[in-house]
């Protein structure tokens, strides 16, 4: 052990810096908040005192040699990785760094199509070529699942030149693929295994949860510490393992990451890592118990289905994250997004997201029993007041894409603008997605079909927040010019 997990080197360095009462003739210009009293009053003076610049005693995120390096080593130890990078530009930047470290332009990467937009954005930036594996779909719940091992194997055999395979662990809904077997399979064919663990930070700190990427020997993982880990929004870890080069990965990160790394974000990563390393088992036991209690109570309400491990099928649902509270709402005749809106507008309850058939309530150690009771009681009321026939509801969330071009080719191709209905049959040059969850309905390079357009219209009608197109109203879409195809 290099250092005790009790330590938080970045926080300690900031405390030393404060105690030294250093006179700041450097940026930021608010100078410990004194130059912007309204901001200091709003965010708190302590917060602004710690919003400082890189300097020798505080290290530098672009090239860590002292306290940030120590924080990275402690994080690597806590996560069981060869090295950990502190990131301040969201897990989006971690996913992009993984893809760009593994693949150069024109190289192939195998991935499920139900990835977050950040993964496909990485393909636009890097020019890597996606090979999509269709995820399983649960017809009853209408949600995309994990990848079947056989499907992955077929993709590998068909594309033995692929450099890497990207896996969600878990999906937004809490569903895990057979990470261990897919990792072993990929390694047999000398492919890197990249794992998007935006929703899996807690897997590293509690033995009742599904396997983490590092624990099964995956090569890289992007971990949203700010979700279940408790750090500040936008802070994240990138983990590497095995033969992945620390130096090269750092270079890739530095292509796009800020040179003014925020010490608020970095210290929040440091402190949260310490907290999870010391108390994770106990914290997530509590979260699992709260989620399970709430799930059991919700399942007593006729019409809602809060699913969990009973879904496990040994393959496309290899494991389920019990700390997630995903609820299928079609049984009461409402789209998930409608329940999401009613909860907020009528009951002052904000949940994580609603899609066409499900809602997700995010449970954490910060929740109180009485708030869980409010959620259950509000759902009881929604059933009493709104239950209706469910036959008119759309029943699936996943449309198999037809890929015509790589995301980068299509994104940068000469394009023309068409209204959505007129775009049927053409190749999209941009994304359309509901956010959250941010899984593209159509991505650049994919053919726009009537099914896709109908689905987009349905999402709009139900009140989903659509995004991705240049047109803020998502009525017109950029498509690749015919002559250039």
């Amino acid at each position: 052990m290099i250092h005790s997990q009790q330590r938080a080197p970045i926080m300690e360095a900031l405390q030393r810096y404060q105690a030294a009462r250093v006179v700041p003739f450097d940026v930021p210009g608010h100078k410990h908040g004194r130059g912007n009293s309204e901001l200091a009053a709003f965010l708190g003076e302590t917060c602004l005192q710690h919003d400082v610049n890189s300097m020798k005693p505080l290290d530098n995120l672009c090239h860590p040699v002292s306290v940030i390096k120590e924080a990275e080593l402690l994080a690597a130890e806590a996560f069981g990785a060869k090295h950990a990078f502190l990131l301040v530009n969201g897990t989006t930047s971690a996913v992009q760094a993984m893809v760009m470290t593994a693949c150069k332009a024109g190289e192939k990467i195998i991935m499920p199509r139900n990835v977050h937009r950040s993964a496909i954005n990485a393909l636009i930036l890097s020019g890597a070529v996606p090979v999509y594996v269709n995820p399983g779909v649960d017809d009853n719940l209408g949600i995309p699942l994990g990848m079947a091992v056989e499907e992955v194997k077929l993709a590998i055999l068909e594309h033995p030149d692929a450099k890497a395979i990207l896996i969600n662990n878990p999906t937004y809904y809490g569903i895990c693929s057979n990470l261990k077997e897919i990792t072993e399979l990929a390694h047999e064919y000398e492919m890197l295994v990249l794992v998007d663990e935006a929703h899996g930070t807690h897997f590293y700190f509690n033995d009742r949860l599904p396997a983490s990427a590092m624990s099964v020997g995956a090569d890289m993982a992007s971990v949203s510490m700010h979700k279940s880990g408790g750090s500040l929004t936008q802070s994240s870890f990138l983990l590497i393992n095995n033969g992945v080069s620390e130096g090269y990965t750092r270079q890739i990160i530095n292509l796009t990451q800020t040179t003014s790394g925020s010490y608020l974000l970095m210290s929040s990563l440091d402190i949260s890592r310490k907290n999870l390393a010391l108390h994770g088992q106990e914290i997530f036991n509590k979260v699992i118990e709260m989620a399970q209690y709430t799930r059991d109570e919700i399942n007593k309400i006729d019409g809602f289905y809060a699913y969990s491990k009973e879904l496990i099928n040994g393959d496309t649902i290899f494991d389920f994250d019990e700390s997630k509270l995903s609820i299928h709402t079609r049984g009461i005749g409402l789209a998930g997004i409608e329940v999401y809106d009613i909860l907020r507008d009528e009951y002052d309850i904000q949940i994580e997201f609603g899609d066409v058939a499900n809602i997700l309530a995010y449970i954490s150690v910060g929740d109180r029993k009485l708030d869980l009771e409010r959620l259950v009681a509000a759902l009881t009321e929604i059933r009493r007041r709104y239950k209706r026939d469910s036959s008119s509801l759309f029943d699936h969330e996943y449309i198999n894409p037809e890929i015509i071009q790589t995301p980068q080719q299509a994104f940068y191709a000469p394009k023309e603008i068409l209204s959505l209905p007129n775009a049927v049959g053409r190749v999209a040059s941009e994304f359309v997605m509901c956010y959250p969850p941010g899984i593209p309905i159509v991505a650049p390079g994919e053919r726009v079909t009537k099914e896709i357009v109908d689905y987009i219209e349905y999402c709009k009608e139900k009140g989903c927040f659509l995004t991705g197109t240049e047109d803020p109203n998502v009525e017109i879409i950029n498509v690749v010019k015919e002559a250039d195809r």
Binding site: E373, V376, E381, R384, R385
Partner: protein, 283 residues
């Protein structure tokens, strides 16, 4: 010795009484519980530093929260009481021979135990055979009931802390469901006077009137509550609190009360103009 208890009635107003003895202090799973012996008000129970009940003025609150619905619908047999750990509401209910069942749901067992020990004046009837005590979350209890009660009395603390779930729309909606077609809901409705209390009062009124065809507010003067001007809500699926008042029947029962009478019953629904305006605004 000069020992005083002080409570903030608003961020800028304080209320104090002289304390003779601090009889009990402890922090339960939910809140801080204290009992004082005071010179003027007798024994006093506070939760998280807010006065809940005093021996001297508790009769006003408990008279008004119980006798108003019972004089409107003397046939009431099955009652759900939520909160009310001091036992005063149940004590008044047990005076009605007609009532067959009283279910009391209090989240904090320790409050009941403390009141049974230090406030026998309010808590003595909690052992009545018609009373069933449930120590659980009121919101959880009520959402599991349907068409089950003639009367629900919400004797809650404030819209913050462990009682905050009892001021929500989901709570009142579930109360509606838990009542039968003739059901009445009476609730502690906060005060119209100080801004923060008034907001809680408006929110509660808005939620209740969204569910019940009849939704009225009545008032009482309670010296130890902020401003002394306190409100109760009366909501019903069927009975109007004044038009359906059964004054003769109630008076024949011969219950001796120190605050409530059937004339005051009707008068308590006559509200000051500023309160009426607050309610109209909430609607």
């Amino acid at each position: 010795m000069n020992l005083w208890y002080t409570e903030d009635h608003s961020p800028h107003v304080r209320f104090s009484f002289r304390v003779e003895e601090h009889l009990y202090t402890a922090t339960s799973e939910f809140q801080k519980i204290d009992v004082f012996q005071s010179t003027e008000f007798g024994r006093i129970l506070t939760l998280d530093g807010y006065v809940m009940v005093t021996e001297k003025d508790e009769f006003i609150y408990h008279d008004m929260i119980v006798h108003v619905p019972l004089a409107t619908s003397p046939a009431i047999e099955k009652v759900l009481v939520i909160g009310a750990g001091d036992g005063g509401t149940v004590r008044e209910l047990t005076r009605y021979p007609n009532i067959k069942q009283i279910d009391m749901v209090e989240i904090d067992r320790q409050v009941v135990e403390v009141c049974q020990k230090f406030l026998p004046k309010t808590a003595a009837q909690l052992t009545d055979p018609r009373v069933n005590l449930y120590f659980e979350d009121g919101l959880k209890f009520v959402r599991q009931q349907e068409n089950a009660y003639d009367l629900i009395i919400v004797d809650s603390t404030d819209p913050f802390g462990p009682g905050e779930g009892l001021f929500t729309k989901e709570f009142y909606g579930n109360c509606y469901k838990a009542l039968n077609d003739e059901g009445i809901l009476v609730n502690q409705h906060e005060s119209p006077f100080y801004a923060e209390d008034a907001r809680g009062m408006q929110r509660a009124h808005k939620s209740i009137m969204g569910f019940f065809p009849i939704s009225k507010v009545y008032q009482a003067h309670i010296p130890t509550y902020p401003s002394g001007h306190w409100l109760f809500g009366f909501a019903s699926k069927k009975y109007h609190p004044i038009e359906d008042l059964q004054a003769d029947i109630w008076n024949e029962l011969g219950l001796k009360t120190n605050y409530y009478n059937t004339k005051l019953h009707a008068g308590s629904f006559a509200l000051p103009n500023y309160v009426k305006e607050l309610l109209i605004h909430a609607e």
